[in-house]
Amino acid sequence: MKFARLRRASLGGALAVALALASAACGGSGSEKSVNGLEKTNLNVGVMPIIEGAAVQIAITKGYFKAEGLTVNLRQIAGGAAAIPQLKSGQLDISQGGHVGWLLAADSGALKPKILAEASSMTKNLNAILVAKDSTISSPKDLVGKKIATNAKHDQIALLVRSALAPYGVQIDEDKDFQVIPFPNQEAALKEKKVDAVVVPEPFVTQIQQNIGARLLTDFSTGATEGIPITGYAASDDFVKENPKTVAAFQRAIVKAQADAADRAVLQEAVPKYTKLPPAVIGVVALNDFPTSTSASRIQRVADVMRQFGYLKHNVDVNSMVLQNG
């Protein structure tokens, strides 16, 4: 019967098309052995759309990676947590991410990360707790029982808040006191009094203060969180084991770029390339520190704070997780 044949033919054709497309899509990079003896020369690096990840773009633009024989593809990721499954499956080779995320991954066994380089650490007004202009809250003590907006629970920011408020004897119950609202929407929430305080990073710290006259209650540059490392570049343990020369080349290039990143003009040129932040905004916001060395003892501080608030279930060996540098 004509139609049975038609069906069979079209099924067969569809299968052939599917296979052809699939092989085209899955055709990944072949083996590349370079002149410098690098195991892998084509890298997919995950970067968050924030100023703290500028070093990768800078290293691409200024040719630091090329000088080391590396071709780096910058891949945007929404956040550190999103990078972990991608590192595990090889969709990303190296990624930027919050140290809180790396430690959580190591703790839960989801991934064995190796931190290759620090990307950013805390400075004045980089992250802050803001309250409305006319708010009655005048000191962190007054935050007891109030609604605080964060963009996610159990993450970096939540940890900062708890750590900053602990000296004032303020205990935070994340489920009750935190209202999860994405950063771009927190300004409206504060203005309409849906929340009593917001915890935001730059550029929102500057923007919210400018736009609705919000008051800065406290930032995190003093006390337990002074100069604390925030994000870093990491890869999976297996990747580092299999590609030591590549990793070393990456580290060298990144450190150079980190040094350059201290210059605001450089950032104004590089950051708009991988985010939608305009240079004007970059010109006025508080900048993070771009460390040019990687120290396990600094990252240990993050682990300690996490243990203090019960984020870590086991004792994570930070020393073995960090490729010391500088």
Partner: protein, 258 residues
């Protein structure tokens, strides 16, 4: 004549909705950050010339079609196999009932962790979501085949396989095609949702996610939503036309479903 009238009426409907949307957004019922419908449409039109966006569309569609084709092949094959082995059919019923309602959003990390390329992860999720409607429609349709037709062939000495190919499958084909059409729509939604949630910068969802960094651009996001809707509607129209062509004999015999 009726075709033209239908197009005219359809256009009226679209225009009407757009007009209402424009009025509502300009009247300021909602927050002032709601963009007027006209600017959203303008953004959507601008996307036609945006190569970055068009590449993103291509990436989305690629994953979508791969997943859909794979799902069709597998689901139809499994459906045929199950309908001919009732004991296996009974056993898989519980499995299907349990796995079907699980949203693909919940499985995103698992999909990412299991495949070494983003496209493969996307395809796997499309495959997962697209399988169920096709499988269920296949089972339903095969069960509903006219027994008289089957008996007739059997009495002529045709074997089981021949009956399957010559009677059951063609008879079931239109309903399976409906299932494929539903899966096509579901699959597109799944890909875009994956791109938005997993946020890797790829595809339509990835492009839209980038527009959200910093201050957020609701007009771009809505323009992207419109594009996704248009794509889905076009695909549906295309598939309906294909169905009508291929199954003309079926529509003549039974009352046509629009």
């Amino acid at each position: 004549m009726t075709n033209r009238a239908r197009i005219v009426r359809g256009t009226i409907g679209v225009a009407g909705v757009v007009a209402v949307a424009e009025l509502v957004s300009r009247a300021g019922f909602a927050d002032t950050s709601l963009p007027p419908a006209s600017s959203v449409l303008l953004r959507a039109a601008e996307f036609f010339g945006d190569t970055e966006f068009l590449t993103a569309v291509g990436s989305t569609l690629e994953a979508w079609i791969l997943g859909l084709l794979l799902a069709t092949v597998v689901a139809v094959a499994v459906g045929i196999a199950l309908s001919t082995t009732p004991w296996l059919n009974r056993a898989t019923r519980v499995l299907v009932e349990f796995m079907r309602p699980i949203p693909s959003v919940a499985l995103i990390p698992l999909a990412i962790v299991s495949f070494s390329s983003i496209t493969e992860s996307k395809v796997s999720l499309v495959f997962y979501s697209a399988c169920w409607p096709i499988l269920i429609n296949t089972l339903y349709a095969l069960r509903d085949v006219d027994p008289l037709a089957k008996e007739t062939l059997r009495s002529f000495g045709f074997g089981k396989a021949a009956i399957l190919l010559r009677v059951s499958v063609p008879s079931a084909a239109p309903f399976v095609a409906t299932g494929v059409r539903i899966s096509a729509a579901v699959g597109l939604v799944v890909v875009v949702s994956f791109e938005l949630v997993a946020g890797n910068g790829e595809g339509i969802g990835g492009y839209l996610l980038q527009t959200q960094s910093g201050g957020g651009r609701p007009d771009l996001m809505l323009a992207g939503a419109i594009w996704a809707g248009m794509l889905g509607a076009l695909i549906n129209v295309g598939l309906v036309a294909l169905e009508r062509r291929t199954f003309r004999w079926h529509a003549v015999r039974t009352e046509a479903s629009a």
